[in-house]
């Protein structure tokens, strides 16, 4: 039973990270119907920023949770700025173009950012300090759920609640929902759609950066390529849950995390990805729009 619970919780941890990144894919898709392939790179840039800041702070003699919080905040700001800029440079000029053009532009942006980080930093794996503190009250349950897992799950939960409140109750949140449902009508009631799109990229990037800092602390090393792999997984999670749906992205992330962890725990870690993608194929056959996605209605 302990073994099952352990796997369940590590699946939840992994799924939380997928969900954090998947939200960025799904929110952007909801607003401008674009798969932002550079989103994984934003996550990677978040992790790199945190690494740089943490190194500087540690050199300066700081330690403890303060390093984590400061590094996290700077990573979120920096990644958001990247997300904002990527949209302005690579997608906004193509707003009226056919749907294929921004998609190609997104892939180009993804490759560019990977290579940029590789050249600016290094192509080797860099050790990432474990910034997540050990929580004393979890000592007795450490064999099932360690501090790291707990912090990742709790942080994700808080972020999700904050996001839900933002989308449900704030002016910008309402504008985002209205724009996703009918962009021209949103413009007709006075929504500045460019601002809504920018806000969506900023929020998605911030979530990805939080995911990046958490997972890098957890795994302990990063390189320029981590964004690609995490991006593909999170994209899978978003599609699995129903792209465009926010609860869908969270559910898809968790289902994917559990599938991978249970496959590793009960079968073999070699088949982790095979199980994950087999599940994707299966769900898309049974429910082409994803678990929580709505069958798309052709807009006239």
């Amino acid at each position: 039973m302990d073994y099952f619970l352990e796997i369940f919780l590590s699946g939840l941890t992994r799924g939380s990270i997928y969900a954090l990144i998947a939200l960025g894919y799904t929110m952007v898709y909801g607003i401008i119907e674009l798969i932002n392939f550079a989103h994984g790179e934003i996550y990677m840039i978040g992790a790199f920023t945190a690494l740089i800041i943490a190194s500087v702070l540690t050199t300066l003699g700081m330690s403890g949770p303060a390093v984590l919080i400061l590094a996290g905040i700077v990573a979120v700001i920096y990644a958001s700025a990247y997300g904002f800029t990527v949209e302005k440079i690579a997608y906004k000029p193509l707003r009226g173009a056919s749907r294929l053009s921004p998609l190609i532009s997104a892939i180009g942006m993804s490759i560019f950012l990977q290579n940029y980080v590789m050249l600016a930093q290094t192509s080797d794996f860099l050790p990432f300090p474990n910034l997540l503190p050990e929580l004393p009250f979890l000592e007795s349950t450490a064999h099932i759920m360690g501090s790291t897992d707990f912090i990742i799950i709790a942080t994700t939960a808080v972020v999700m609640v904050a996001l839900t409140l933002l989308i449900k109750f704030t002016r910008m949140g309402k504008a985002m929902r209205a724009t996703a449902q009918d962009r021209n009508m949103a413009m007709l009631v006075g929504v500045n759609v460019n601002r809504v799109i920018s806000a969506t990229f900023i929020i998605g990037s911030a979530l990805a950066a939080i995911g990046g800092v958490l997972i890098a602390s957890h795994i302990g090393r990063i390189n320029f390529y981590i964004g690609f792999i995490a991006g593909i997984k999170a994209f899978t999670a978003a599609v699995l849950g129903g792209i465009g749906s926010i609860p869908g992205a969270v559910l898809g992330g968790l289902v994917l995390g559990w599938t991978e962890c249970f496959a590793t725990g009960y079968v073999s870690s070699d088949y982790e990805d095979a199980f994950a993608f087999a599940l994707l194929v299966l769900i898309l056959i049974l429910r082409p729009a994803g678990i929580l996605g709505k069958a798309s209605v052709q807009k006239v």
Binding site: K174, A178, Q181, N184, V189, G190, V191
Partner: protein
């Protein structure tokens, strides 16, 4: 109040408006009638800035607005009820109305206008927490009109408000249009295919054919015009 001078609007290479010139005076109801594809909706979309004109000018209270963005145009006091109502389907009735007042900050004024639209259409108060997409066609039209009233517009653009509605509902909607014009001193620009109803409520009218204004005059002049009778009134 509103003036279009030689407005030309394109969709890609297709010229939809071939030099439209018209005037709307403060406080009146004018109607623009014409067949499908004549360019009526495009005219409204050009005014609202969704499909900006390629040449010509649009003046609102003497100032050019054809180079402004849609949200800036709404902020000046021009609000549109588009064809097909375009309710935000997954937002509640209340949230749809909130979106109508998106650019306003005067909480007290918004509350007052909310009471006003609930007074016009009491059914909306009952449906307040229901998703907009679950309303009937007539209720959606009421919501669409109410939503644009929440912006407290000086000029209200209405695109085919009677389309697809039962005769009773059409009558109600036209009554309300008259009421909005009278009570709030809101100027109304009404696009209609139901020329008969439109001419009854409007002061003046324009007839549009193939992207051009073919005819204009007071409502009674147009009602007695042989061409209008034949082509649009079915007499």
């Amino acid at each position: 109040m509103l003036e279009l001078n030689n407005v030309e609007t394109f969709y890609g290479n297709i010229m939809a408006l071939k030099g439209i010139t018209l005037k709307v005076y403060e406080g009146e109801i004018i109607t623009l009638i014409g067949a499908n594809g004549a360019g009526k909706t495009t005219t409204l979309m050009s005014i609202s800035g969704i499909v900006p004109p390629r040449s010509g000018e649009i003046l609102f209270q003497g100032k050019p607005i054809h180079c402004l963005s849609p949200d800036e145009i709404v902020a000046l006091g021009i609000s549109q009820v588009p064809e097909g109502r375009r309710i935000f389907p997954q937002l509640s009735v209340q949230e749809n109305l909130d979106m109508g007042a998106f650019l306003r900050r005067d909480t007290a004024g918004i509350r007052k206008d909310l009471d006003y639209v609930f007074g016009l259409f009491p059914i909306l108060a009952q449906r307040r927490h229901q998703a907009g997409g679950t309303l009937s066609g007539g209720e959606q039209q009421m919501l669409a009109i109410s939503r644009s009233l929440m912006a407290r517009p000086r000029l209200l653009l209405l695109d085919e408000p009677s389309l697809g509605l039962a005769p009773m509902m059409v009558k109600l909607i036209f009554q309300v249009i008259g009421k909005i014009n009278g009570e709030g001193a809101t100027t109304i620009f009404l696009v209609e295919q139901n020329a008969n109803m439109a001419m009854q409520v409007a002061h003046r009218g324009y007839v549009m054919e193939n992207g051009r204004i073919a005819l204009s005059g007071t409502a009674s002049e147009l009602l007695h015009d042989e061409h209008v009778k034949k082509a649009y009134l079915g007499i």
